[in-house]
């Protein structure tokens, strides 16, 4: 067998069909949806999934989500799916999550085990003095299913935190999309502190909630479960997607404004191959690069309190005007508007 790939792609088969996909299938079956219609086009059969050995690709999972969304034809599908996701039924990984000593451990574990627990939308945890932020990266090119996955992912984390802490936590939610027609689903399944048309999709929680000891923490068992979960992750394949790896690489080299050719070299492939792979994931190098630069800019504004000029020079823009123009292209608003927005003036 060839050496193991360092990442998974849209068509790599590594998602255990009887775990997260099965949550969605069960939800659909409980609403009286026919399993043949649900699995149409995915190349899967319900009997295969019941056998417990079938692995599916992100592409198949996304197709399943598309079918489910269409057949369920209800505004709460993504939220109900999200509620069932975490800690989930992934053996050691779920156990480790459920036994975490505090919320921070749980969220860090979720990030580490993302290939198992969040293969399509990978979470990142970021901390500053006062707050913890969780934001998501579309790791397989979700396309039209992006909104569904975002709603499901946020619901999953909020439901997990509620289960671990035994109470509803004061999360704040930011969505880059506008307020949907079915906003009441957000109220009920997520919370009241909702912000739409934001520059990013993220969850925010006062930091002290992260370090509170959790009642059900079982240290020794949790350590063992973590170990087993890591073995499970290793056995299941790569621990991150191509887009995920590229974003992390870009983040490390963001100050050098690396070109596509340099990135391709770092990933040991030709620029044409990288381009082709990215377009397979419905994105481009420019898009990924811009996304990372936006993340860094937001981080510098919000966490480090940098000025426009400082951010521009950190990201090696020729001048502040140039940076302002790029920023407007990334977010639709100039940095000044964003600063007002970040400080809560709008």
């Amino acid at each position: 067998m060839a050496s193991k790939p360092a990442w998974y792609e849209r068509d790599s088969r590594f998602i255990a069909a009887h775990q997260q996909p099965a949550c969605l299938i069960d939800l659909c079956l409980s609403r009286g949806i026919d399993s043949h219609r649900l699995l149409r086009g995915t190349g899967l059969f319900h009997a295969d999934i019941l056998a417990g050995t079938t692995l599916i690709s992100p592409e198949q999972f996304l197709l399943l989500i598309d079918n489910a969304q269409r057949l369920l034809d209800a505004d709460d599908s993504s939220f109900l799916f999200g509620q069932r996701l975490l800690p989930g039924h992934h053996g050691a990984a779920s156990q480790a999550l459920a036994l975490a000593g505090n919320l921070q451990q749980a969220l860090e574990l979720l990030g580490e085990l993302r290939a198992l627990l969040a293969p399509l939308f990978s979470p990142r945890l970021l901390l500053d003095e006062h707050y913890a932020y969780v934001y998501w990266l579309d790791s397989c090119g979700a396309g039209a299913q992006q909104r569904f996955l975002l709603e499901a992912s946020m619901t999953a984390v909020v439901a997990l935190a509620r289960q671990l802490c035994g109470e509803r936590l004061p999360w704040q939610f930011h969505f880059s999309h506008g307020q949907p027609r079915y906003v009441e689903q957000y109220w009920v399944h997520l919370g009241e502190d909702l912000h739409f048309n934001s520059p990013y999709n993220l969850l925010r929680l006062p930091r002290h909630y992260l370090t509170r000891a959790l009642p059900q923490a079982a240290l020794t068992t949790a350590v063992v479960a973590c170990q087993q979960a890591r073995e499970q992750l290793l056995a299941s394949g790569p621990r991150a997607s191509l887009l995920d790896c590229l974003q992390r690489w870009l983040l490390r080299h963001v100050r050098e404004a690396p070109s596509l050719e340099r990135a391709a070299e770092a990933f040991a492939m030709s620029p044409a191959t990288l381009k082709r792979k990215l377009s397979k994931h419905a994105t481009s190098y420019q898009q990924q690069h811009d996304q990372v630069r936006l993340q860094v800019a937001l981080y510098l504004y919000q966490v480090k309190g940098y000025s426009n000029d400082q951010v521009a020079s950190h990201l090696h823009f020729h001048d502040a005007t140039n940076f302002r123009r790029s920023f407007k292209r990334w977010t639709g608003v100039p940095p000044s508007a964003l600063r007002r927005w970040l400080t809560g003036e709008v």
Binding site: L27, G32, D76, Y182, H189
Partner: protein, 311 residues
Amino acid sequence: MLKRSLSAMSSLLHLHRLKLAALLLAANLALLLHLAAGDLKPMAEWVWLDILGEGGSALLALAWLLLILKSRPAGRVSSLLALGLGCVFFSWWVDALDEFIRLPDSIAWDSWLESAPMPIGLLLMTVGLYHWHHEQLAISAQLEKRERLFREHRLFDKLTPLGAAEYLRRQLQLSLQHAGQAQPLSLVAVDLDNFSALNQRFGHAEGDAVLQAISQQLLLNLRCQDLLCRLAGDRFVVLLPNTGETLARQLAGELQQAVAHLAHKTRQHGERLHLRATVAVVMAVNEDPQTLLQRLNLALARAKQPLALSA
């Protein structure tokens, strides 16, 4: 429950197998009679406009018949409508056969076959529709407290027999236009406490069953002019027309008690669940449905966590 009703829907056609078989037999017999007595017309003599008009009408009548049979359980009204439409179809079918088969002039039965079923069919359908009207009134009475002013099946909730959020919004839109100082309008939100814990402990199927039970329990405790909708998840909203805030608070308290007194038993082990709900009340003041619902939602959040939000 939903699953059962869905499979019941698809089996509805089976209930009418005899009726369909009789109709097919009659149509076949008519065809055979025509073939036996007459000759086929050559294609040059076919009048396409007539074929399209008469054949198309026959096909449409058949489609109506199938739709009616597919959507209705057996019964008096269904039989009347089916018989009526069956006669109409038969009449148009024989009419269409004329276009392909020429009968000798000496034969008179064909005009009987063509013309007699039509008035009989229309008469049967009229009687059927009259009874259907009464049946519909009876069904509407059963939908009391779940439906007001207008019906739109696309806005039904998929889990409980109630209207969903969009139905509530449209109802609010209509009601707010009428409501004024003289006719106050209030909303009550009822939200189950610890519903997610219940889902975790007993499974989501049990959670669904609880929501269905709660919706029935709430309906029982409402006045006939009130409207109950499921907003989302475990949150229900009652629209109270002509109701001021004081009375709405009293009704909300009664609903809260009704939930606490519901002795729901789990399906697997028959274990008694102790349910509790938080309620919130708002009275409409010159605002659009969305703002009103938002205010209700915030009132509910305050009722759930009095400390966290006032801080």
